[in-house]
Point group: C2
Chain length 173, copies 2
DNA sequence: GCAAAGTGATTAACATGTTAAGTGATTGTG
DNA sequence: CACAATCACTTAACATGTTAATCACTTTGC
């Protein structure tokens, strides 16, 4: 009966300001959908002792060869601090390597090791199979429609100036 | 030239297994798009000392009145441990209240305080304005198409059995 | 040259995500 | 009615998200 009985509270009257129904806000939809996707991938990654982020990094490295840390952060969509910690860990596990750039000792380039590549080769088939099954169930056409809309929205929002939290705030007029 | 020169490595040859171009995998697309959305909301929340998750909880409480912790976790899409910590904090700030259920002392119900409601009323107009601007830029029709696809995908994946990480595992016999 | 400003990367500090373990309360079964 | 199983919630422990500070190195301006 975990999902059977619903709260009798019902209410939905507390807020004077209506606002869109909370659960169908765009950020929530994106979050829930992403989780419903990742839920299928995590077991396989976990079976190989990889987190989602570690996997993103290995994938990015396998795709781009040697790459600078900053650029890696960009393509793997991770913030610097997270990346630093994860690289330290992956380097300790000999899945990646780092070397300093002679031309600029502040920078270093990262690359995947053969051990890292073997790990990818071990995980990739399962990932691909899962992705294929998802595509089959959802429909290739709808999947690409979705991808297109996601990209369009991303582009539209990049063009939208970011509010700075100060708002019009009375004083800066 | 931070973004000018691309890595000469070019490679993309390291991996023997092709795999979809990493950056357009579905999880990455969803993550990037969600971030591009949240980027616009965070400054406003931050200006009121709220994190995204705290805001989700307050919104959920405002919409549903009194609600049990487990149900709140479900609607705010948070795991129990995260919720426990955040409720402790919000209670300390007098934005929410808790009371035990006499009928079952394991359970407690959470509700938003008038201070919490005032905070929502202070933040909501800005949020609504941002959401409206997004809708205007992206298009209301495309937005609802996107929402529909997200929900469909979510439904399709819920119906898909979760791999357990064991796979068929050829080798562990 | 050299002090100041800028840049790439890491560390620090705190909040959340995630899984496992713990705590107290309740329930079902013999 | 004892008592093991279950349940609701919390804690614990570790990884990541996030912002700020720091460190080492480079570039700039004088």
């Amino acid at each position: 009966m975990t999902t059977a009985s619903k709260p009798r509270t019902a209410a939905k009257a507390a807020a004077k300001i209506p606002m869109r129904d909370f659960s169908q806000s765009l950020p929530m939809s994106l979050l829930r959908t992403r989780e419903s996707v990742m839920r299928h991938f995590r077991p396989s990654l976990r079976a190989h002792d990889l987190t989602e982020q570690q996997w993103r990094i290995l994938r990015a490295l396998a795709a781009s060869g040697e790459i600078e840390v900053t650029e890696l952060a960009r393509v793997a969509f991770l913030l610097g601090p997270s990346l630093s910690r994860i690289l330290r860990d992956l380097e300790g596990r000999r899945l990646i390597e780092r070397r300093l750039l002679k031309a600029d000792l502040r920078r270093s380039v990262v690359s995947i090791t053969s051990k890292g590549l073997k790990l990818i080769e071990a995980v990739a088939p399962t990932s691909e199979a899962i992705y294929a099954e998802m595509t089959k169930r959802f429909g290739a056409r709808k999947l690409s429609d979705l991808q297109a809309l996601l990209h369009e929205l991303e582009a539209a929002l990049l063009a939208m100036p970011a509010a700075d939290g100060a708002e019009d705030d009375l004083f800066d007029r």
